[in-house]
Symmetry: C2
Subunit: 639 residues, 2 copies
């Protein structure tokens, strides 16, 4: 073992301890489906009772979508060297349309496997690769189009409905502010049949390679919860296998729905094996990155054969979706010349360089149907890359960007002819007023295939804060119908994100996705907001922290001003101090209204026909005002 390899993977390869801590007051629960091996994980956050003076009722635990995988289940023994427990193998086997391969089909993968110098880096428990039987198509879209509801689809329906029961109990479905979904058609309940129909229609994808049975199935589509992706990956400048796996577990702990491994450094093949075997979320890659490494970074040396072998290599490892920059056509390339920032996509510039050097059409385009054949043999989903996305506000929505998008629309239809699941990547840098045009055009050109955007960043002037410049655009495009948002970290444009940056990016994007779910009126999305706001109002500090996206930071910020434990049960906060509290006064208003039985009829949102009878209220108040003053106007004298 070479000395520099040694630093690449330690002998012990331990799981990142910060990723396996259960969340405070939370327990991992599993909701069982129609068969006992459909066990859908959720996180249930327990809440304290409402204090007596606020009514004293019990607060039901809140269930939240859980991407953290078995890592946060104290019942599961985690060992990175053996990988995660199997979730889907039985389902895959039952379909009886795949076969185990005697050996890896990729030449490169075989070389790596047989290289004794890599023994120390190699994942110890490689899975035997599977592939579709000859002539079979094993994509979830293919099943869906035959009317088959797979266990994956049922799993997803249960998962997406995590708040439904509570929403019904609390009447939130009815009362919830009507969202504005811009043509999306989100049902009140996500049924397995609805999942099937959306996948069959191409409006949603279930990235789930048959070689990634550790996967907890999830769905990407605009009639479902908005998802987010986090990027990891080593580079020529550093990072080890353990660090990359830690980024994976750390990212999913905080809410990444998928992870893209964008490695461009050393030992990409082995790094990816560790990542996939330890990933409960779909893993995406940009295969052209690894292909480029295989030709020593010289784009014009790329060939279809090298690329094809890379696709098969990665498909047999279990990559769930591939970014393929097949829309970077020769004729679009010169259109970028007058841009302020030209081509900023790595994959896009690789293909542009190849096209210019050979003066041939992009081989990803000319071989697109060959790629489809590979995709459907493993159920790898397309993420059609936007190699010509704008890299600055000045370049937004220009001819080259939209030309490529039109081509991606053509390719989507070809992929669908093969029943290959497909989503479309989008920008980039786009000012607010031009975001909706992107979404509308994508839906139109690509037949409503899911859109998956990087931000977009709404201004260029804040390096160091591009999680925020892009979080604004991400929330908006999520509302408009974007199905998945690729996170941006504070280090964007400046450097490689560290652990704090990854978390900051993930949390920012969870905010954007959830804001979009609220705006679309996703059933039950508001349950968590309502529970948190109720906790806030009732001074249940711990519940407020625990219901938040990041309980640790919320608690730490609170404790900076009021560190004592007693402050966590205090009925005031540091903003107004103990002497005066607006929430206390509200409670007095509420008690007053409750006590005096005024006939206030509130106008329910969206229901204009109900009228507030203010006269009754006023009369009642007049009568009782002296009583109120006599009480001394201070109900909570004990604070």
């Amino acid at each position: 073992m070479a000395a520099n390899e040694k630093t690449y993977l330690s002998e012990t390869a331990k799981v990142d301890q910060s990723s396996v801590q259960p969340f405070p007051n939370s327990s991992k629960i599993y909701v069982e489906g129609s068969r006992s091996d459909i066990r859908v994980p959720m996180r249930e956050i327990s809440l304290a009772d409402t204090p007596t003076e606020f009514g004293g009722e019990q607060n039901r635990p809140v269930r939240v979508y859980d991407t953290s995988g078995p890592y946060t289940d104290p019942e599961v023994q985690i060992d990175l060297r053996t990988g995660l427990p199997d979730v889907r193998s039985r389902w895959i086997n039952e379909r009886d349309d795949t076969e185990e391969l005697a050996a890896k089909s990729s030449l490169f993968a075989t070389q790596r496997l047989n290289d004794p110098a890599l023994a120390s880096l190699r994942f110890q428990h490689l899975r035997t690769p599977r592939r579709a039987k000859s002539g079979a198509n094993v994509s979830q879209m293919h099943y869906a189009r035959q009317g088959i509801i797979t266990p994956e689809m049922e799993y997803i329906a249960i998962r997406e409905n995590m708040s439904l029961q509570q929403a019904r109990e609390q009447g939130v479905l009815q009362e919830q502010h009507a969202g504005q979904a811009f043509g999306a058609a989100i049902p009140d309940e996500i049924t397995p049949e609805f999942v099937r129909s959306e996948v069959a229609r191409g409006r949603a994808i279930i990235p789930a390679n048959i070689n990634h049975p550790e996967l907890e199935p999830m769905i990407i589509g605009r009639n479902f919860l908005v998802k987010i992706n986090g990027n990891i990956g080593n580079s020529a400048l550093g990072s080890s296998i353990e660090e990359e796996v830690a980024k994976l577990t750390w990212g999913t702990r905080w809410g990444a729905d998928t992870i893209m491994d964008l490695s461009t450094g050393k030992n990409i093949h082995e790094t990816r094996e560790w990542i996939i075997r330890n990933a409960s979320v779909p893993i995406g890659t940009v295969p052209i990155y690894q292909a480029l490494e295989k030709v020593d970074g010289i784009a014009e040396h790329l060939t279809w054969d090298i690329f094809r072998d890379t696709l098969i290599e990665q498909a047999e490892q279990g990559v769930d979706y591939f970014t393929i920059h097949a829309g970077v056509l020769l004729r679009y390339v010169p259109l970028t010349a007058k841009r302020v920032t030209g081509i900023v996509s790595r994959g896009g510039s690789i293909m542009a360089k190849w096209c210019l050097a050979h003066h041939q059409e992009n081989f990803l385009y000319t071989h697109f149907e060959d790629i489809c054949e590979i995709m459907k043999a493993y159920d790898v989903s397309f993420s059609l890359g936007d190699g010509l996305r704008p890299g600055s506000i000045a370049d937004a929505n220009d001819e080259s960007q939209f030309g490529e998008l039109e081509t991606l629309g053509e390719l989507t239809k070809i992929a669908w002819q093969h029943d290959v699941q497909t989503m479309i990547e989008g920008p980039g840098h786009v000012p607010m007023q031009m975001i909706k045009e992107n979404m509308d055009k994508q839906l139109r050109e690509c037949g409503e295939a899911p859109f998956y955007t990087l931000g977009p960043l709404t201004t260029d002037i804040a390096p160091g804060y591009d999680h925020i410049t892009s979080g604004i655009g991400a929330a908006m495009i999520g509302w408009y119908g974007c199905a998945m948002l690729c996170y941006v970290t504070p280090k964007e444009h400046l450097g490689l994100p560290n652990k704090d940056d990854v978390k900051e990016g993930i949390i920012t994007y969870k905010i954007a996705a959830h804001a979009a779910d609220l705006a679309k009126g996703h059933p039950g999305a508001q349950i968590r907001d309502n529970a948190l706001s109720k906790a806030r109002f009732e001074f249940r500090w711990e519940d407020q922290f625990n219901l938040g996206l990041d309980p640790d930071t919320a608690r730490a910020y609170h404790d900076e001003t009021l560190p004592k434990e007693s402050a966590k049960v205090a009925h005031f906060c540091s903003m107004c101090g103990p002497k005066f509290c607006s929430m206390k006064i509200t409670q007095e208003v509420r008690d007053y209204a409750a006590e005096h039985g005024t006939e206030i009829t509130l106008r329910a949102p969206g229901e204009a026909e109900e009228v507030v009878r203010m006269v009754d209220v006023e009369a009642e108040m007049q009568k009782k005002s002296d009583e109120f003053r006599a009480q001394g106007c201070e109900i909570y004298s004990k604070v």
Copy 2:
């Protein structure tokens, strides 16, 4: 001097050193108006030349709006104990409609002045208060309505046009993406007459108390650059005068256009004096906070007389705008009882409590015309407070919120009858799909008076990240027409912001405001984006940092991965490493297109009639492709 007072103000009272550092590669310039005492400060950022291989042209310095005041001018000696230099006294005197007062008109202020125990806290160089001569109205709105263009208005026109010259030179006004301004009418050039007409119309305000001559005039209105406000202020839990002044200088350094002093702790009067005398931006307050302190925090003990004396006390110190919760009417209060979070505004709950206790209509409403008389005697602007704003997603856009907004519309018209400048405060917590309804209703009800919102926060589930949940809503409502955005820090709902939090909040809101300016198509707004993106593309790292909102953080993030100085001139970054760089490839595309003289006609944004002649390009490319390959496809071999 009591021991506890000693900690309140040190003998030396030094300026916060971090607030007086000039920005890197920046110089303070002053643009002179029609008279030599109109000297409008701007920050000019010098840029390096484009590297030879990218074309070698000179890059003109970029002018940016500068709120930092004299603190960042190395020519100005700063002494907190004497306060800032005078900007406006000559203009005020020339109008000859005010008079110096022999003594302060406020009883409370007089008591404080005569209290020897406060000598050590007192600002040493108190200004003699001024007031309008009997019967005079000294508001900018009053002048505007008489057709008078004040020096303040001319100053503002120059200030708002800071990028105009460059935009014209670079042709950006023509090329700039057409914004979507939702009925706003932003001219290509802001003239003094346009400023006057907008103020006369009530569509913009110039908060500029005659007792705050240190002020550098600015404007708040939807046909101008979107402004942001930062909050400071002590509380019962702590902070000293020096700390508060440091928050002011720190906040304006990073871009706060106005500062609100929300002090509720000790020595509010003296603290405010230090703040105003050292503030080059308008200072806003919520006078009811101080009035409440005067009655020991017991809301029902508030009286009109106490409040009136507080208004006069603060007006004679130089406060530029007052938040007045005059729309919290008795009849709206019970409507909040069924809310998830009731009344969350401090001022709103104070007035609600007072109304309930006395069963009388809000005295701010019944005395509204009396308040107008005070406002016009000093030119204090109204910021009509939204005491019933929603504190949670569940409560957004409800009956009590919109009822109060309608009342604020009525009050706006009364204020305008007195020629008193008026803006309207807005929410709060609002999901994305309900934001525009807020803006539209405000414009309609309030006759297009400027809207000034707190966020809004687009979800409740991220305590610790509410600068981001609200930055999303702020950018959107800014685009829709909101004139000023009140910042939210990461500590919102949790604790008191420290210096880092203030900066984080300010930068987030500068992003939101600028994103809105871009979306509205504000003339020249895109100059800075374009300059930064060009610097980024050309690997001018220092320029990229310096053009950003926070050069320090951008540089620090870059240096985390590539700390060496040599990396700042390297033509690659840490994302892709030295071997491969997408920007380099773009430059090759560009060189190629330039060199080979293809007849590419780019379709200018928004101009559909121009057609791209792809055939020419393809023919040309075919002919030249071998040449290109013969060059070895690597133009920048030296990297």
